[in-house]
């Protein structure tokens, strides 16, 4: 049932091979458009583009260590109602996991979209990326690909990868219809293409690529990567817990926060159309501030900073996919992804839930079992 095929690279260039592969998919009868990251004319910016004409796929670059936004949001915009055709979307594994959460929240539909994912090499934070890419983004991507394939998964040319990426234990998507494999393949020689669902099969069948077997080195390479990342992640959890385990420490953690709420705007799974924190509920009357200040003699302005962050954790940590976009969006470099992942890991565990794992699992706060958590009822 699954089709596994191989694409040989020319001049060691995976971007060109991907471009041709995506063009092949776009030319199929059943696919009307493809959502794919492309390098914009400024050279060092990569953004999602929606393409209907294969001749506009010349700057395709899903391997660039640029991650300006979690495109699950974009995929949700394209699928919340029927689009009038089926689109393919090239997404990172954490974008697919966020998309699955959005489908569960009824903010996206799985029906009309073909999910394609490339093994994720990781990314830099936005600021680092533009420095890294310099004037020749495409060339920098090829350098980056070789660097990661060579085993450098944390740092390159003096720039650190985003913490979220260093701690990510899902570098390969299990829910994509078509997965494009890099790990365990010979760098610069070939890439793997594999269908993981019927929809993916149906597409790959039409492309007639030379079939192959998945090399055994692949799973081993993925496992090794996951175990390194998990080690980093657990270390990050321990440090973050230590840095946030009292009111004083939380105050220090968020002392630079200006309540701009960029972190929630950037978060793909902060699901409310209108967040309560930007409604009139928080447009307090002037006398209210005076009252609050009078109580302890001092309040910090703007108020409600911890209230916002802890509430956000309570609302969405069970859906957090660890993409790191919250940290990326913060103007004041607050280590948000670290904290959100640390808490999310716990809250997902108590409900035996993993964000983005399966469409069949309901969001934990939307269901219950009658015979669970009996020990928390009562006061002894």
């Amino acid at each position: 049932m699954t089709i596994t095929a191989k694409i040989d690279l020319r001049e060691q260039n995976p971007l060109e091979a991907l471009q041709q592969f995506f063009a092949g998919i776009l030319k199929l009868e059943d696919i009307a458009a493809i959502l794919v990251p492309q390098r914009l004319p400024t050279k060092n910016t990569v953004m999602p583009t929606l393409v209907t004409d294969a001749s506009f796929l010349g700057c395709v670059d899903p391997l660039a260590p640029a991650f300006p936004m979690n495109a699950a949001r974009i995929a949700s915009r394209l699928t919340r109602k029927p689009m009038g055709g089926k689109a393919a979307a090239v997404l990172r594994p954490c974008e697919i996991r966020a998309f699955i959460e959005l489908v569960k929240l009824k903010q996206a539909r799985r029906e009309d979209i073909l999910l394609i994912s490339v093994d994720c090499l990781g990314a830099f934070q936005n600021r680092e990326y533009s420095k890294f890419a310099g004037q020749n983004g495409t060339e920098s991507t090829l350098r980056f690909y070789k660097n990661v394939m060579g085993g450098n998964i944390n740092e390159m040319e003096g720039a650190e990868f985003a913490v979220a990426c260093k701690a990510c234990e899902y570098p390969v998507s299990e829910n994509a219809d078509i997965q494009i494999g890099l790990y365990g393949m010979k760098t610069g020689e070939s890439i793997l293409v594999k269908s993981q669902t019927e929809a993916g099969d149906h597409i790959l069948k039409q492309l007639n690529l030379p079939e192959t077997n998945e090399p055994s080195a692949r799973q081993a390479a993925i496992n090794a990567l996951i175990s390194q990342r998990t080690g980093y992640r657990d270390d990050m959890f321990a440090k973050t817990r230590e840095a946030s385990d009292s009111l004083d420490k939380m105050t220090a953690y968020f002392s630079n926060c200006v309540n701009c709420y960029n972190c929630r705007v950037a978060c793909p799974v902060c699901y409310c159309r209108e967040c309560v924190f930007v409604t009139d509920v928080f447009n307090h009357d002037p006398y209210q501030y005076l009252q609050w200040a009078t109580r302890k003699g001092i309040i910090k302005m703007p108020t409600d900073t911890l209230f916002y962050h802890i509430t956000r954790l309570a609302h969405m940590s069970t859906a957090c996919v660890g993409c790191g976009q919250c940290s990326n969006a913060c103007p004041n470099d607050i280590p948000l992804a670290e904290l959100f992942r640390t808490i999310a890991h716990k809250t997902q565990k108590i409900f035996e839930y993993e964000a983005g794992r399966s469409l069949d699992e309901k969001p934990p706060l939307s269901e219950f079992r009658e015979d669970e958590f009996k020990e928390i009822v009562g006061i002894d």
Partner: protein, 140 residues
């Protein structure tokens, strides 16, 4: 030093625990004055933000109490509330709030006696824990 008098915020569902509190009152059962009761229609409507707000504003304890299993007037609000309390009892301790400070009970409309016992016991527990960190310090 005078004895620490805790502030406890209690969210009681209209149909069961609040009715029990009423009954306790009319039966002249006493309960500690530390408890500030907020009447809600169902424990299922207690968004985590209400509880977080109470703690950040200096509550030393929060009690959420509603109908027993099968008695919720909105069918399963009490079960949903239990998940949210479970969630918060996982999140809040990370930031230094003892999980004993947040409690969920199910008290039926005719259980006035039980309710006054619970309120006494909870108040005693919170007294033993001492004041919450938010009572003493600035909260950003």
């Amino acid at each position: 030093m005078s004895e620490f008098e805790p502030t406890i915020v209690a969210f009681f569902c209209n149909w069961c625990t609040y009715t029990a509190a009423d009954l306790a009152g009319t039966s002249r059962l006493s309960y500690p004055h530390n408890i500030r009761i907020i009447r809600i229609m169902c424990t299922g409507m207690v968004d985590p933000q209400y509880i977080i707000k109470a703690f950040l504003e200096g509550a030393d304890g929060v009690l959420v109490s509603g109908c027993r299993p099968g008695d919720c007037h909105y069918i399963n609000g009490n079960y949903k509330a239990r998940r949210r309390i479970k969630l918060l009892r996982e999140i809040l301790p990370q930031f230094g709030f003892d999980q004993q400070r947040l409690r969920l009970t199910w008290i039926g409309a005719s259980d006035g006696v039980h309710l006054s016992e619970i309120m006494r016991a909870f108040t005693a527990q919170i007294k033993a824990l001492g004041p919450s960190q938010t009572k003493l310090k600035m909260v950003i």
